[in-house]
């Protein structure tokens, strides 16, 4: 039940962030590389919330796959790292690309860093906020193809960062559906992930080869 709601929420957000068209990002390297597949490494977590890394990781597949990329199964990749004695995201991010290529054969590798994750209690209302940065790297050349950052907050209606209507909807949905702060953070992380990794965002990633032709132009 809850998952239907969260899907609706995610859809809403993607639609609402989807109308802008301006673009200033230099996509030259991205266009030349034409990655078909993306390996998302477990995110490095700079927040104090222990579960932040996997909470975010479990929600990256939807936006990236729907953008037209093959996304390596995060649960299987994680188990593969674990079997090789690697559980610390920091350590995994430091692996040489050749090592990753030997195992996964991905066209591009995505590095995510979570800078904010969780609820801070303020006098009037609590604020649940998740902020993350991502960079996409060509796995052969090591060249940076794209980087971006996104944030989502349960109090968006007051600071208006996502537009009035969006903010109100976010708050209304999150308030209604979510009971515990852990679940709330996880939900907000899903919104951040959508904003960060959808092709519809301003300066977002380019559509991949499995995206409908209309999107790819």
């Amino acid at each position: 039940m809850r998952s239907i709601l969260s899907l609706t929420l995610v859809l809403l957000i993607s639609l609402l962030t989807g109308c802008a068209t301006q673009s200033t990002y230099d996509y030259t390297a991205f266009r030349e590389s034409k990655p078909r597949s993306i390996l998302v490494l477990p995110p490095v977590n700079d927040s104090l919330e222990v579960g932040a890394s996997y909470s975010f990781l479990s929600q990256v597949s939807y936006p990236l796959a729907e953008s037209g990329y093959y996304v390596f199964p995060v649960a299987v990749a994680e188990e593969t790292f674990r079997e090789n004695g690697l559980t610390d995201p920091q350590e995994i991010h430091a692996l040489p690309l050749e090592k990753l290529n030997d195992v996964f054969g991905a066209d591009a590798v995505m590095y995510i860093k979570i800078t904010q994750y969780g609820t801070s209690y303020q006098i009037i209302a609590s604020d649940t906020r998740v902020t993350a940065e991502a960079s996409l790297v060509d796995s052969r050349s090591g060249q940076l193809l794209w980087k971006g950052a996104a944030t989502a907050s349960s109090t968006e209606q007051s600071n208006n960062s996502g537009g009035g209507l969006v903010g109100m909807l976010v708050v209304a949905l999150v308030d209604q559906v979510i009971n515990t702060t852990t679940e709330r953070s996880h939900q907000v992380a899903g919104i951040t992930s959508m904003r960060l990794l959808t092709t519809h965002s301003v300066n977002g990633i380019l559509p991949g080869p499995r995206a409908p032709a209309l999107q790819r132009q």
Binding site: T8, G18, P73, A75, F104, G190
Partner: protein
């Protein structure tokens, strides 16, 4: 209450879809797949049989609706089968992943090679 809420959010989505640039149908049937991935990682739950049930259910739903499953789902199910000793089915799932998504070929080969053969 929840039903009304669902309906109203459905209407909202519809209104937004109509009012915005072309929005495509999702490429894949996701169901609660991401929630499944998340939930079983929480608290170090290792009830592989229950996970198998959830992922199989998703697969059946998608098939019943004639929709594609997301990339990685067959490989994920394959891993769960390996973890529960269902080796033949596991290999079938990995083969499925590779044929639906050739981009996974190198990784699938790696996983299958790393998997010890069990000959009873």
């Amino acid at each position: 209450m929840t039903l009304t809420y669902l309906r109203s959010s459905g209407l909202l989505v519809a209104a937004l879809v109509a009012g915005c640039a072309p929005v495509n149908q999702p490429l894949y049937h996701w169901g609660d797949y991401q929630q499944t991935i998340y939930q079983y990682h929480q608290d170090g739950v290792t009830d592989y049989a229950a996970q198998v049930g959830r992922v199989e259910a998703l697969l059946n739903q998608a098939q019943a609706q004639g929709k594609s499953v997301p990339p990685g789902l067959h490989a994920h199910l394959g891993m769960l089968y390996f973890n529960t000793g269902r080796e033949i089915e596991a290999r079938e799932q990995f083969a499925m992943e590779k044929s639906l998504f050739p981009e996974s070929g190198h990784f699938v080969d790696y996983v299958l090679k790393a998997q010890p053969e069990h000959n009873q």
